[in-house]
């Protein structure tokens, strides 16, 4: 994607819409990031963390039983659920940790909704000798008790934010507010791609490892997929998966947002139902009312429950490079169950959105055609939700 650095934008999207207090910390980070991108030793150290600690590369798994069950095209899964901590977010944590060390900061500050990113940040932080402060909304804190125990045992400071909505939005605001007054000793580490510059660039850099790995794996297996499907919350995972494929004409990229409970206006599908606006420091697609007040996203998947997307996706949506769709809570739950029962793979409800779309797509394809689905994380933390939403009648005969 061509991007004019000096303008901090992707096409007309992006930018750095923050309070003056944050401009300079972001500028400092931007400079540090520009430096490390050309720094061989940084790259080496980054790769060594991925290889020796996170478990990269992650496998590309053929879903043969599932493909047989539904008929049509072949499904493959790129398995970020097998990364340390059970999701792709560990990759971001490594980049943040290395940047913090370079900047001489001792603290990582982040927010978490599903718990995945908070745990990843605190874990990598520990391993790098850094301390962590994680902001969590009270609602998420309560629904993700396992992650919260994990954070506690890691010795991270958990800052509870009072809000009655799930999702990163409020925790994110608090974390940024905190950072504005502690920018000299702490590094703010957002998990959201919908953030002020330079975060979209940093996150794209950290996560395009996923797409790059996939490219190599596909080449080795002589597969040219017809579709590449990813779940899109803020779009961090999606940008990492898609970026190396955007120029490839033969592969249609599909980003799947949360269609929510399915009632009017209850969703998190900013690219389908939103319009451009400025929120959380970036100009991008956004759920908002006619007065520019931000809408409340709704989804069973906390990681998708965000009102906006990263600027790259806004640009791709406008250019038509990526096709964005929405899938309902119910479809996602049923896809998670189907994948588990036919492939023994337990994915997060975020990833289940991508699977659900692939399940609709595959039957329309021929047996030589392939759909690669990006699995962003493991569904260990969603087991309770699968159990409690079980459809009437025991599914196992």
């Amino acid at each position: 994607m061509t991007r004019d650095n000096s303008e901090r934008r992707y096409g007309r999207f992006g930018g750095r819409y923050v309070a003056e207090a944050l401009w300079h910390p972001l500028e400092t980070l931007h400079q540090a990031f520009d430096e490390v991108q050309n720094d061989e030793s940084f790259r080496e150290s980054y790769e060594s963390w991925l290889d020796r600690r996170l478990g990269r590369p992650t496998p590309l798994t053929p879903l043969e039983e599932l493909s047989d069950d539904i008929g049509g095209g072949q499904l493959l899964a790129k398995r970020e659920d097998l990364l340390q901590g059970g999701s792709f977010t560990a990759n971001m944590a490594v980049v943040y940790g290395l940047l913090a060390r370079r900047l001489g900061h001792e603290w990582l500050v982040g927010e978490t909704a599903t718990g995945d990113f908070g745990v990843a940040l605190a874990s990598i932080g520990s391993a790098m000798g850094l301390r962590s402060r994680i902001f969590v909304g009270r609602e998420d804190l309560e629904s993700e008790s396992l992650s919260m125990q994990h954070l506690h045992q890691l010795g991270a400071i958990v800052e509870t934010v009072d809000t009655s909505n799930r999702g990163r939005k409020v925790a994110c605001a608090e974390a940024m507010g905190h950072w504005a007054t502690h920018a000299d000793s702490e590094l703010y580490c957002p998990s959201s791609l919908a953030m002020a510059d330079p975060y979209p660039r940093i996150i794209e850099h950290a996560l395009s490892t996923i797409g790059a790995e996939l490219k190599v794996q596909l080449e080795r297996q002589h597969v040219e997929p017809e579709y590449l499907v990813a779940p899109i919350g803020s779009g961090s995972f999606g940008v990492g998966l898609f970026e190396p494929f955007v120029d490839r004409e033969s592969t249609q990229l599909v980003g799947v947002q949360a269609g929510g409970p399915g009632q009017d206006g209850e969703h998190a599908a900013s690219l389908t139902y939103g319009r451009p606006g400025v929120f959380q420091g970036t100009y991008s697609f956004l759920l908002q009312d006619q007065h520019g007040q931000i809408g409340s996203p709704s989804s069973i998947a906390a990681g998708l429950c965000v009102p906006n997307v990263g600027p790259q996706h806004a640009a791709w949506a406008e250019s038509g490079d990526v096709h964005y769709v929405a899938v309902t809570d119910r479809e996602a739950l049923s896809a998670a169950r189907q994948l588990l029962q036919s492939e023994g793979i337990l994915v997060s409800l975020e990833s289940a959105h991508a699977i659900a779309y692939a399940l609709k797509l595959a039957p329309t394809l021929g047996p030589d055609e392939t759909v690669v689905v990006g699995i962003s994380g493991s569904g260990m933390r969603d087991l309770d939700r699968l159990e409690s939403t079980e459809p009437e009648g025991d599914p196992h005969e």
Partner: protein
């Protein structure tokens, strides 16, 4: 720059009294009340009023103002209401008026329509919490065509070259934001030092937003700069909804005025 703002800025630059800037939320708790409060505040001695236009995600404001925003949003306060409030106030008062919000409500209205609106009803300047100087070129240019200004905001993290850039690209006084999200970042000592540095890079008057809630604090802050911006303390009084709110507001603003160097 509007004449009203120019007069105020120059008055202080030429050694006049400290600037007292007071903020309140449009439509908190309802539209007519805001007009009354503005009149009270102006009559009690405020030099300039910041009318906060509510946004659903007030990331950079503290809890008191957030609650004010929530109350106003429950009343569905819109730009139309802001127009009404400002117009009513202008009918009786000539106090400089600043429209203050976040960028998205402005974008939703459209920058052009926004500038038209604020200019038409007699605003003098604009503050946008999440629109840094570097991203506001277009909006500043549009405001300029109608003689309005965007007030430059400076924070403890702002390096000197940015201070100079903003000073060189603006004419009004400067807002010093010593807190962010409600938390004070500077000790008294650091504040004095910052003000000294600031003076080395601009001779524009500096109005400090320092979480001031008493006249003692006001006078202490004002000795190091050219004026104070008081927001949360006023919104907090309004939140109390005392039966004698008007007279309490008047007394509070009057006391602040008194405490400032003449």
């Amino acid at each position: 720059m509007s004449d009203r703002l120019r007069t105020l800025t120059e008055r202080r630059a030429e050694g006049g009294p400290s600037i007292l800037m007071c903020a309140l939320v449009a439509g908190d708790p309802f539209v007519e009340a805001t007009v009354e409060h503005m009149q009270t505040i102006a009559d009690a001695g405020a030099d300039v009023i910041e009318l906060l236009v509510p946004f659903s995600e007030p990331t950079y404001h503290g809890p008191v103002i957030r609650r004010g925003f929530e109350r106003a949003l429950q009343e569905d306060v819109s730009w139309q209401d802001v127009r009404t409030i400002a117009a009513s106030f202008r009918a009786t008062h000539d106090t400089p008026l600043i429209a203050s919000s976040y960028y998205n409500p402005i974008l939703a209205l459209g920058e052009d329509r926004f500038v038209e609106l604020v200019a038409d009803v007699g605003f003098d300047g604009v503050m946008v919490a999440d629109l840094p100087w570097d991203e506001s070129g277009d909006l500043r240019a549009r405001l300029d065509t109608r003689g309005l200004s965007m007030l430059p905001m400076v924070a403890p993290t702002t390096p000197t070259d940015r201070i100079e850039m903003m000073a060189s690209e603006s004419e009004t006084y400067v807002i010093w934001t010593g807190h962010s999200g409600g938390e004070l970042t500077l000790s008294r000592h650091d504040f004095e030092a910052s003000m000294q540095t600031l003076r080395q890079h601009t001779d524009r008057p500096v109005v400090a937003s320092m979480k001031i809630s008493t006249d003692e604090e006001a006078s202490a802050v004002a000795t190091c700069c050219d004026g104070i911006l008081v927001g949360s303390a006023i919104v907090w009084l309004i939140e109390g909804r005392d039966s004698d709110l008007s007279s309490r507001l008047a007394r509070f603003v009057g006391d602040l005025r008194e405490s400032l160097p003449q």
